[in-house]
C-alpha cells in the first residue's frame, strides 16, 4: 500500500506539465524556476508550476510568452506584481510594508536572547535564612540572653 503512496508522491510534481517548447535549455530552466517562485492565487499554497488551476495555466502561458520574448526575470515578476500584488511572490520584495515579515523573526530572536541574558545574569535574591553569619549571631544572642544571670 505504502508503495502506491510513495509512487503517487514521486509522480506528483510531474502532474502539472504543459506542452511548451523552448529554444534552448536555459529558457526552459528560467521558465521552470520562475513558475516555482510564483504563487498560484487560486490554490494559495501551490506555486504556478504545481497548480492545475485554470488561472495558473493562463499565468504560466504569460510567463512562457515573456521568457520566449527575451524578457528578464525582473520584468516578468514586475508584470505579475503590477497585476496581482506582493502575494504572487513567494519571496516578497524588501520594502517598508514587508519589513516586519523580513526582519520580524530576527527581531524576536534578538529580544529572546536579550531576555535570556537578563534572566541568566540576575543574582539570586538573598534569602535571610541562608545568611549563616546572621543566624549564628541570632543564636548567640539567644544563648546570651538565656544564660544571662537574673
Amino acid at each position: 500500500m505504502w508503495r502506491i503512496f510513495l509512487l503517487l508522491w514521486v509522480a506528483m510534481p510531474a502532474l502539472a506539465i504543459d506542452t511548451f517548447s523552448f529554444d534552448n535549455a536555459q529558457q526552459q530552466q528560467r521558465f521552470q524556476k520562475l513558475s516555482e517562485e510564483l504563487r498560484c492565487l487560486v490554490c494559495q499554497n501551490q506555486s504556478l508550476a504545481d497548480s492545475n488551476a485554470e488561472l495558473a495555466l493562463d499565468l504560466r502561458k504569460k510567463v512562457y510568452d515573456r521568457v520566449i520574448a527575451g524578457q528578464t526575470d525582473e520584468q516578468i515578476k514586475t508584470y505579475l506584481l503590477d497585476r496581482y500584488g506582493d502575494f504572487v511572490l513567494y519571496k516578497p520584495t524588501v520594502k517598508p510594508v514587508t519589513y516586519v515579515l523580513w526582519f520580524g523573526p530576527l527581531g524576536l530572536l534578538l529580544l529572546a536572547l536579550f531576555i535570556l541574558y537578563r534572566v541568566a545574569r540576575r543574582k539570586p535574591e538573598a534569602d535571610p535564612s541562608d545568611d549563616v553569619a546572621a543566624n549564628q549571631r541570632t543564636i548567640k544572642q539567644m544563648i546570651d540572653e538565656v544564660s544571662k544571670p537574673e
Binding site: L41, V42, Q44, E54, D58, L81, R83, Y84, G85, F87
Partner: protein
Amino acid sequence: MIRKLIPLAIFLVMAIFLGIGLTLDPKKLPSPLIDKPLPVFSLPRLLEPARQLGSSDLKNEVVLLNVWASWCASCRIEHPWFVQAAQRQLIPIYGLNYKDSRKEGTQWLQQLGNPYLASAFDESGDVGIELGVYGVPETFLIDRLGIVRYKHVGPVTETVWQQELKPRVDALRQER
C-alpha cells in the same frame, strides 16, 4: 506582582493577534490596481459582438464593473442583487464576462436577467489578467476619471453594498 503578570500579558497580546488572524480571509488580497487607472482594454460586447466595450466607456460616471461567468457558482448568489440594483438604479453596472462561452453567457442573462448596461466578452481571460482577477466574482468601483477606487472579491450582497460600496460611491459622487 507585576512580574507574575508578564506571561499573562504576553499570552493576551498573542491571543489578540492570533484572533485577528483568524478573522482575516486569506482569499482577500489587496489589489495593486487601487487608485490606478483602469487598464486599457477593448473587447467585443457579449450580446452585440459587433460593438466594442472598453475602458474608455467606463468613464465620466461612478460605475461598477462586475466580473462574472456562467460557470461561477458565487455569481449565481450575487446576481439577484445586481438585477435589483439595476431596477433601483443605484449605480451604472457594467459586466466583464470572464472565460465564458458566448452561448452560455447569453443564456445566463436571458434566464436570470441582465442588470448590465453592457458586458465585455473576455473569452481568453486576458483582460481578466490585466485587471488582476483571481477569483470570480470580483467587483471594481471606478470613478469619473476612470480610476479604480475599490475592489470587492466575492459576491456582492445588500450588506456589502451598504457597508463597503455605498459609502465610497457617495463619497466619489461628491468629488469634483
